[in-house]
């Protein structure tokens, strides 16, 4: 279904035949391809951005982090990559995938960024996340093995909502976050939530498959946004704040529609 592009393109991203696999590890699928397509679409900005530390939370098969390392490749030398997964099999499969492509990332078997939050705070220039976003019963969240790749609890937001504050902590002042979301996850509400933390956002890729509608959102710190906006919205919910609230969601829905017509693929 997905054309992986010309040779020129595919040499810049991971090749499916070189991606390792394991029965307990999520294989690259539409969501992974959409995330890599978003990174490719933003590649020239990434090259200009010249990140020092890049990180993937929930690396699964390693397809995304290997692709990121390949597309930045020799043009941005000296980048270091860090990838985590709560599934031991996934970090091992990622290791094999990276090796097969001749690239390296430091791998850590941990929950999101547990153990890294203190020392890595404010150091990550690019973070990529394809979270477990599928709405499931709450008790399926946090199970071992492949379920950890998709089980997202109510509205698929349980793990996303855990990741966002951690991403905010780890991202550098110039840090960028790329995240996969589903329409069911309420992306406009996620953007608003991140706006309260001082982030601007843009949908880089929007794609509908037979089963789901995916949005790949890029977040970056916008120093024009007051990070204390949250207090206005949640604590002191005055009439003007409510209007702002509504206005912001409209802005985001407009940007959703707009990006729908400028899909990268």
């Amino acid at each position: 279904m997905h054309n992986r592009g010309s040779n020129k393109i595919s040499s810049r991203i991971a090749q499916i035949r070189l991606v390792s696999s394991h029965p307990e590890v999520y294989e690259p699928c539409d969501d992974s391809f959409a995330l890599v397509d978003a990174l490719l679409a933003d590649r020239s900005n990434l090259l200009e951005h010249r990140p020092t530390l890049c990180m993937e939370v929930g690396c699964g098969s390693g397809y995304v982090i290997a692709s990121l390392a390949l597309m930045l490749g020799e043009e941005v030398p000296g980048v270091q990559y860090i990838a985590t997964d709560t599934n031991r099999c996934a970090v091992e499969v990622t290791h094999e995938t990276l090796q097969a492509h001749g690239v390296h990332a430091e791998l850590i078997n941990t929950d999101i960024a547990s153990g890294l939050e203190k020392r890595l705070a404010g150091l990550i220039d690019v973070m990529v996340v394809n979270p477990p976003y599928v709405p499931t019963p709450e008790d399926e969240v946090g199970r071992e093995g492949i379920a950890s790749a998709w089980a997202g609890g109510e509205n698929g937001r349980r793990v996303i909502d855990k990741i966002l504050p951690i991403a905010d902590k780890l991202l550098s002042d110039r840090g960028w976050l790329y995240m996969v979301t589903l329409t069911t996850n309420n992306p406009s509400q996620i953007c608003l939530q991140m706006r309260e933390k001082g982030y601007a956002s843009r949908i880089i890729v929007q794609r509908s498959t037979e089963e789901e509608s995916l949005h790949i959102i890029k977040f970056w710190r916008d120093f024009g946004i007051k990070p204390d906006a949250k207090e206005n919205v949640t604590v002191n919910r005055t009439a003007p704040a409510r209007i702002l609230d509504t206005l912001l969601s409209q802005v985001h829905w407009l940007s959703l529609k707009k990006s729908g017509t400028s899909n990268s693929s």
Binding site: T52, P77, G78, V79, Q80, I82, T86, R88, V91, E92, H95, H104, E106, L107, I108, N109, T110, D111, S114, G115, L116, E117, K118, R119, L120, L123
Partner: protein
């Protein structure tokens, strides 16, 4: 696991206040050559905890880093940068453990991958 990663890891056990740096138990160390990139090193020099890096590199059998935190002018020295590069990126703890300095809880490192997953009563 590179020592860069060791420098960024702390014990994540609930209630631990001094979880950094993790001590290292060595079973197997490997060396892998990495392209030398002065810009990256100069950037990271400001961010690494020097004493943690020196102690970790000694645990792995590399004793060429100066013990005292060097003056920032040292980053213009090629000789220094080469040593820093080697310690930070080329030495790997392949098998062993990271040990919480407060509780002595061990986080195993196998195939170069540290396992920082906590048990239910540690979260």
């Amino acid at each position: 696991m590179r020592l860069l990663t060791h420098n960024m890891l702390s014990s994540n056990i609930k209630g631990v206040t001094n979880g950094f740096p993790l001590l290292i138990e060595v079973e197997k160390v490997i060396e892998k050559p990495v392209d030398f990139n002065p810009d990256f090193l100069k950037n990271m020099f400001l961010k690494v905890d020097w004493k943690a890096l020196v102690d970790a590199s000694r645990s792995l059998g590399y004793a060429d880093l100066p013990e005292e935190t060097p003056e920032s002018s040292v980053i213009d020295s090629d000789d220094f940068l080469r040593k820093f590069h080697h310690a930070l990126l080329e030495l790997h703890l392949e098998e062993g453990a990271l040990v919480c300095p407060e509780t002595e809880r061990k986080f195993p490192v196998t195939k170069g991958i540290p396992n920082m997953l906590l048990h239910e009563d540690e979260v």
